[in-house]
Amino acid sequence: MSDLKNEWIHLLANYGHVGFTFVAAIFIGLGGGILLDQKVFDGRTAPWFTFIGLAFGIAAGFKNLLDIVWRHQDKKK
């Protein structure tokens, strides 16, 4: 398989995937936070773990995005 085609497949897979990964990371973070608040602590810590989970989820989403960009840059060098 030629290098150009290989590169195309990589671009297609990575950048076609990044949107879904971003959303999935945010939802998993938020869901984990809500679960911790409502089920583990019975709503006593009500909004806090939800917010912390959401923050971690957003951070994880951005980390995924940056990982893909950096990995691609490393390969170019």
Binding site: L12, G29, A60
Partner: protein, 240 residues
């Protein structure tokens, strides 16, 4: 999502088997007769029969069928070796190639009227994704032993409280995004085709979407395979 005509379901109903009318049935027999299950078996039977017919007796000078498979399998083998190394490819080629061919055929079968893509059900795609996800952790643990946890703690020790949840969340996000992307794309294609067929089937309205459907089907199968290969490769390499 309900199709206008699914011929296997019609045959099963004529035979007196219970075909569920919702997405999943209640009894075990109903669940086994759900459209995505019966069409999964159809795809499996199709792949088995076709490969048996074309590869039943291997020849030194390949005929048409053998030539086709040699190109497909040879191309995939080379592609995997480029991305995750020769040793890993020899080990995991049967699994990943089977997934790739199965997903491609399962996506494409939905373009024929009367058939349905098994991958348009979240059950099928989630099952495939869970197998891939578990396997890439098994690879990680068998390669690095207990030191595999270093993949999840980030570059510096004082960043552990911050990086550990982030890495865990992004790892679970793979499970969700890989399954939902395949499911969403194929279900969108199926739904769109169904709606266009009902609205203006007599004027060939679904035709342009069918052309796009071929593209989407092949691209999604390829993306699934490539991401599987990338995850396996990442689990194998050292933590940075």
């Amino acid at each position: 999502m309900e199709h206008p005509i699914l011929f296997i379901s019609i045959i099963l109903e004529k035979l007196g088997l219970p075909v569920p009318h919702g997405p999943v049935g209640h009894t075990i027999l109903e669940q086994l007769c759900a459209p995505y299950m019966t069409y999964t078996w159809l795809v499996m039977a199709f792949l088995f029969v076709v490969s048996k017919l074309t590869l039943g007796n291997l020849e030194m000078i390949p005929g048409k069928g053998q030539n086709f498979w040699e190109i497909v399998v040879g191309g995939m083998d080379e592609f995997f070796a480029d991305n995750m190394g020769r040793e890993m490819t020899d080990k995991f080629f049967p699994m990943i190639a089977t997934f790739g061919i199965y997903i491609a055929v399962a996506n494409l079968i939905g373009l024929i009227p009367g058939f349905m893509s098994p991958t348009a059900s979240i059950n099928t795609t989630l099952a495939l994704t869970i197998i891939v996800w578990v396997t890439h952790h098994v690879i990680g643990f068998s390669t690095h032993g207990i030191g595999y946890y270093k993949h999840f703690i980030g570059p510096m020790w004082w960043l552990i409280p911050l990086m550990l949840p982030i890495e865990l969340i992004s790892n679970f996000a793979r499970l969700l995004s890989l399954s939902i992307r395949l499911f969403g794309n194929i279900m969108a294609k199926e739904t769109l085709l169904g709606i266009l067929f009902m609205l203006a089937g007599a004027f060939f309205a679904p035709l342009p979407i069918m052309i796009l459907g071929v593209l989407v089907s092949l691209v999604q199968a390829m993306v699934f395979v490539l991401l599987t290969v990338v995850y396996f490769g990442q689990a194998k390499e050292h933590a940075h």
